[in-house]
């Protein structure tokens, strides 16, 4: 079976790979969007926090014997708490200044965290096994689909859906949306907005760590795994529209697929196609595809 002269297994293999990358783009850009909407800070530590999630899973396994399923729950909580401490001690001091300071601070902290992990663990990377329940592959007839990869796409999709539901359909979400528009007035209604910002940052960071745990069995656990990914994720955020929840999810999955297809049809462009799309979107719609101008 061929499509445009491309054998089906190759085409669908790359499509699946694209969807998986897209799942990580979506999860990470979603966290960035939530944080940016509420705090007005572009969280450049996000890649390092993704990496910390993977390392937390690795450490939980090797130091405490806690496996994948426990890590999926515990790693986001642990890394989220480090995010809360970081916000309280440092980021919160910068809200009254230009956004640039928050960006520089989080960028610097990201570099420091990465450096610390490289010192401690080296940069070669450590393996993390796929949990027994998710090993193997399904024969779909036209291709073999590794169970774990299917799992990642489905879980990422539901995590995005759950985040969207919380923000759009719940009371807490309405506080969040209102505070994104006019934090001073929301606080004047009796809501503790500074605490909300802290928890929002913690939740965004936890989402990055969650993605990190999902990624651990696919990529090797290494200190650079976040910085490799995060540059593309920032492009995704720019394309989707800064702060747009739905935009970041759709753009994340969509661009992953576009990247995968490019690998099939014109492999030379696969590492640049996202940035080409970004340039075109910036020229045509500077606020992004889903952003409010």
């Amino acid at each position: 079976m061929d499509f445009f002269g491309i054998p089906a297994p190759l085409l669908f293999g790359q499509l699946l790979l694209g969807l998986i990358n897209g799942a990580f783009y979506a999860l990470l850009s979603l966290g960035l969007a939530v944080i940016f909407g509420m705090l007005n800070v572009i969280n450049f530590t996000h890649g390092a926090q993704f990496m910390m999630g993977a390392f937390a899973a690795w450490m939980l396994l090797n130091f405490f014997g806690i496996g994948y399923w426990g890590a999926l729950l515990l790693a986001p909580i642990i890394v989220g708490i480090t995010g809360i401490i970081l916000e309280r001690l440092m980021i919160a001091k910068l809200y009254k200044l230009d956004h640039l300071y928050g960006l520089l601070l989080t960028f610097g902290i990201g570099l420091i965290i990465e450096g610390l992990f490289r010192n401690e663990f080296g940069s070669s990377g450590m393996p993390y096994r796929i949990p027994a329940e998710l090993q193997g592959a399904w024969d779909l007839g036209f291709m073999f689909m590794p169970v774990y990869r299917g799992w990642v796409v489905v879980v990422a999709f539901f995590a995005c859906l759950a985040t969207w539901l919380v923000i759009e359909k719940t009371k807490i979400g309405s506080y969040l949306r209102a505070a994104t528009e006019n934090p001073a007035l929301v606080q004047a209604f009796g809501i503790n907005v500074p605490r909300m910002m802290t928890l929002t940052y913690g939740a965004g960071v936890a989402l990055a760590a969650f993605a990190g745990v999902l990624a651990a069995p696919i990529y090797s656990v290494n200190p650079q795994m976040g910085s490799n990914l995060i540059i593309i994720v920032f492009a995704v955020v720019v394309i989707g529209g800064m702060g747009s929840i739905l935009g970041s999810v759709l753009t994340g999955f969509g661009l992953g697929v576009i990247e995968g297809l490019t690998k099939v049809f014109y492999p030379e462009a696969s590492s640049t196609v996202i940035f080409v799309v970004m340039a075109i979107v910036l020229l045509a719609r500077p606020a992004g595809l889903f952003g409010r101008a």
């Binding site: 006019n182 004047a188 209604f189």
Partner: protein
């Protein structure tokens, strides 16, 4: 006479470097409707915002039911029982009408029920699912007032609720404020519209250059017209 519900003494406030209030003194008794009159830039809105904790640095004293609030954060002030309806109304575009209405958390028992608010403002019920900012100016004003009636706050700070509205809507807002007084709310109202203020208020403070320059009971208003025209510059 009992202690006033709200007693503001020597209130000064700043926005960054700019000194906007220079020692404001007002007091409001339980159940009164009071207006702040004055020209644009006289410090009326700043007074409301300073009471609510929304300016920069403040000094002096703001005592509400005996509690000193001049150093408190705005969410603490709200939880003490003061609710604020800003001049620009502050309807949230990303929330629908019901979400806007339900946004301010309940801070004390005894607030109005949603049904009572819909009875007061029937338009809001019809538009419950509309995006907040898609409402007309009058409807947005009703929503902005309506949502602070639910919370159990007893003192309402309303900043120019009549501004930019058609006469028939202004009348409806007036009916609402008298109804709120009947229900036991205490209201501090900023107004430029003299005639409107006269139909709802018990007393008036006149502000100029960030201080209170005059104080008139509503029944003396007609007799004091000449004096007030000087401040209001009409």
């Amino acid at each position: 006479m009992a202690e006033p519900m709200l007693s503001v003494k020597g209130l000064e406030a700043w926005y960054g470097e700019s000194h906007v209030l220079h020692g404001v003194d007002i007091h409001i008794n339980q159940g009164e409707v009071i207006t702040l009159l004055g020209r644009n830039g006289a410090g009326k809105t700043s007074t409301l915002r300073a009471i609510m904790g929304l300016t920069g640095r403040r000094s002096g004293s703001i005592k509400f039911n005996g509690t000193e609030l001049v150093a408190a954060r705005s969410d603490i002030i709200a939880r003490a029982g003061i609710a604020y309806c800003p001049e620009e109304r502050g309807i949230f575009a990303s929330l629908d009408v019901t979400e806007n209405l339900m946004l301010p958390p309940q801070i004390a028992p005894g607030g109005m029920s949603v049904e009572e608010i819909y009875t007061l403002f029937p338009n809001l019920k019809e538009r419950a699912r509309s995006q907040g900012t898609k409402l007309s100016g009058g409807e947005q004003q009703m929503l902005a007032i309506g949502r602070i009636l639910r919370t159990g706050a007893k003192l309402l700070l309303l900043d120019e609720p009549s501004e930019g509205l058609a006469p028939v809507i202004v009348q409806q807002i007036g009916v609402t404020i008298r109804e709120l007084k009947k229900r036991g709310f205490t209201v501090l109202l900023v107004e430029q519209n003299f005639r409107f203020a006269q139909t709802v208020a018990d007393r008036h403070y006149v502000m100029d250059h960030g201080v209170v320059v005059d104080h008139v009971a509503n029944h003396e208003l007609a007799a004091s017209m000449e004096r007030l025209h000087k401040y209001l510059g009409v």
